[in-house]
């Protein structure tokens, strides 16, 4: 694999983490005394994707912003890897008028027509619209593709199964991605899913299924390369499951009392692991690592300060945007 591609994968993961670290900080800054979920500059539920960056980086490396991505309630890593504007994203998360949804959507409902990005707070319900985007791309005579993401918990929803069948039946250019972080909130995969790998489910619907172990970003990149190429060239849909890790709670404020392996979790952080590999191979040195980190921090702090400086929506506009 080319060193420059490897460095790009690393850079994407670092940027995503920097963004989420900043959101984590801002989210908790003003929740007290105690923890009131509705308080602070960033109120409401917050689902962070720390640990899951390899899936987003590896898949989105094959896409342009003409391709569509539909993410989940845990959308930031895919949004960032797909190249969404950090300022507008931060502003939406802060509920500001300059955000992607003018403060109406919030962190689980980011919609960007420029990059064909969307996400959904309702589990697996982003899959069917992704089929439609793929359908439109094909009808419009393009080779654009749609990527749809769920967690392993959501792969037990009807919408997941209906979508796989329809995509295969109509040979739609879709790449289905399942992020298996072992947990659906507090329910372990062993208590939610009858088979060890969702990738096996591809066979039931007539599409290739591939599982990537160990959160390995380069293996994701390789699998996604095959799947995207297949979709672009008219070969139909594919399913990729990435075994990943949720470093934090399901949402911020989740004490994770249900999670026995919690102590091992920080050690499974994919970013330092990948950094070590790249350093050992000579693809990164101290200067490069520092440069990537500084650039990420600067971009993120710029986005956060843009969000904070942006206007709060005027309550008199609360009824806007219900209809076009």
């Amino acid at each position: 694999m080319e060193q420059s591609v490897r460095v790009e994968l690393y850079r994407t993961m670092v940027l995503s983490r920097a963004f989420e670290d900043a959101i984590l900080r801002e989210y908790h800054a003003d929740k007290g005394p105690g923890f009131d979920i509705g308080k602070g500059a960033v109120p409401g539920e917050m689902h962070l994707s720390s640990g899951q960056e390899p899936a987003a980086a590896g898949v989105c490396a094959h896409l342009t912003t003409d391709d569509a991505v539909t993410a989940t309630h845990r959308p930031h890593h895919f949004a960032i890897a797909h190249g969404m504007d950090l300022r507008k994203m931060a502003a939406e998360i802060f509920g500001r008028e300059t955000g992607f949804g003018r403060g109406r959507g919030g962190h689980m409902h980011l919609f960007d027509p420029d990059t064909h990005f969307s996400c959904s707070g309702i589990i697996a319900e982003g899959y069917p619209p992704a089929l439609g985007q793929a359908f439109a791309f094909r009808r419009q005579g393009t080779d654009r593709v749609a990527v749809a993401v769920t967690g392993e918990g959501a792969a037990n929803q009807g919408a997941f199964h209906e979508s796989l069948n329809l995509a295969a039946l109509w040979q739609l250019p879709v790449v289905f991605v399942v992020e298996d972080n072992d947990w659906g909130i507090s329910v372990p995969r062993s208590a939610s899913t009858a088979i060890p790998s969702n990738a096996e489910r591809g066979a039931a619907y007539g599409m290739p299924g591939e599982r990537v172990e160990d959160n390995a970003v380069e293996a994701v990149y390789a699998a996604a390369g095959r799947a995207v190429e297949r979709a672009r060239s008219g070969g139909g849909p594919s399913l990729i499951e990435v075994h990943t890790v949720r470093l934090l709670g399901h949402f911020e404020g989740d004490a994770q009392g249900y999670r026995p392996e919690l102590e091992d979790v920080p050690g499974r952080d994919p970013i330092p692991t990948y950094e070590r590999t790249l350093r050992a191979d000579g693809a990164l040195d101290d200067d490069a690592v520092e440069g990537i980190a500084t650039e990420a921090t600067e971009r993120v702090e710029d986005a956060i300060s843009f969000a904070k400086k942006s206007a709060v929506p005027d309550p008199s506009t609360a009824l806007a945007y219900v209809f076009a």
């Binding site: 409401g44 589990i123 939610s192």
Partner: protein, 344 residues
């Protein structure tokens, strides 16, 4: 009630969620057919504390974490109920009804009718409702009007710990499907702004609050305010404040939308001649229109002023705090509506 006159009834201070759990535990002791199914109801204890401690007490055979497959496990509850069990099934947020609505309104709610009354579906569908904490348009709706609109299921909406326990007991013992909708803002959760009335004395023994009977939360003579759930507390705060200005508010907590206690609404408006309906669900085609129609269908002459409705103005619940508070029926809008009908 098992309490005798000579013995002071014993009670405990409980939050609404603990009072709910109290009723469930009592019924689980009493009836082996009562089981609780849903997402994160086991070790987690329910995202909104609806099952705290039940797993430890009754084990994983009866307090069951399900896959995220609402159609399948709600449908499973229906089948089990048909065969004589009394399942309680949790849909984590009412907003998720869309993924499993067929099981709810075409099966759970219609089987008794379609069977000509020969098959019963004695199950409880619990679900969290309501906003006020910036959870956005897919996690903040009340939607009780939707459930109430579709025939065949009872719909209960407790506002306080006492009712939460009594209504849960009634719901479990009811031979019909009962949708039990609890507002996150009345549960007494440690991680959300706490309503002071979300903790109260609750009798230790089992008792029923009848489904279909409204409560007169506060007596008054100038205007009737009819509402449910968290809005009961907002309306009560406003009523207390307006008393200082000499406005006497009678406040009705409906406690259930189906059946609807139309008698209580009519009796109160007969007394006051004025009506304000407060509803955290959408304005059009919902509870507020139904309550208003209860008067106009019976005797429009009871009203000395037009009915005022304070509800969510047919817009999805916005994320940003300032926008969300602009559309929720909170104190300022309730007060303005009461003043306007009193002045009319």
């Amino acid at each position: 009630m098992t309490v005798t006159d000579t013995q002071a009834p014993s009670s405990h201070r409980l939050t609404t969620s603990k009072a709910m759990v109290d009723a469930i535990a009592y019924e689980m002791e009493r009836d082996q057919g009562v089981v609780y199914l849903g997402e994160d109801v086991g070790p987690y204890g329910g995202i909104f504390g609806s099952t705290g401690g039940l797993l430890e007490r009754f084990g994983p055979e009866r307090v069951i974490d399900t896959p995220i497959s609402e159609s399948a496990f709600i449908g499973l509850g229906i089948g089990a109920a048909v065969e004589g069990m009394r399942p309680i099934v949790e849909l984590m947020f009412a907003d998720f009804m869309g993924v499993c609505l067929d099981q709810i309104y075409n099966h759970m709610a219609k089987i008794h009718f379609e069977s000509g009354g020969n098959v019963r579906v004695p199950m409880v569908l619990t679900t969290a409702v309501g906003g006020g904490y910036s959870d956005g348009a897919q996690h903040s709706q009340c939607l009780w009007g939707t459930f109430a609109h579709l025939p065949g299921m009872k719909v209960v909406v407790p506002s306080n710990p006492y009712d939460a326990k009594g209504l849960m007991t009634s719901a479990i013992r009811d031979d019909n499907p009962v949708v039990y909708m609890f507002h996150k803002g009345v549960m007494g959760l440690p991680w959300m702004v706490k309503n002071p009335r979300a903790t109260a004395d609750v009798p230790d023994d089992a008792y029923e609050v009848p489904i279909g009977k409204a409560a007169v939360v506060r007596e008054g003579s100038d205007v009737t305010v009819v509402t449910v759930s968290l809005s009961v507390h907002h309306a009560l705060d406003v009523a207390e404040k307006l008393a200082d200005d000499g406005i006497s508010v009678e406040l009705l907590d409906l406690r259930s939308l189906v059946p609807l206690d139309r008698r209580a609404i009519l009796d109160s408006v007969t007394k006051t001649g004025r009506l304000v309906v407060v509803d955290e669900d959408y304005l059009s085609y919902g509870l507020s229109g139904e309550v208003a129609a209860t008067i106009t269908d019976t005797d429009p002459a009871l009203l000395q002023a037009p009915v005022r409705r304070v509800a969510v103005p047919d817009v999805p619940i916005p994320y940003a705090h300032a926008l969300e508070y602009a559309v929720l029926p909170r104190h300022d809008r309730i007060e303005a509506a009461i003043r306007s009908v009193v002045d009319a």
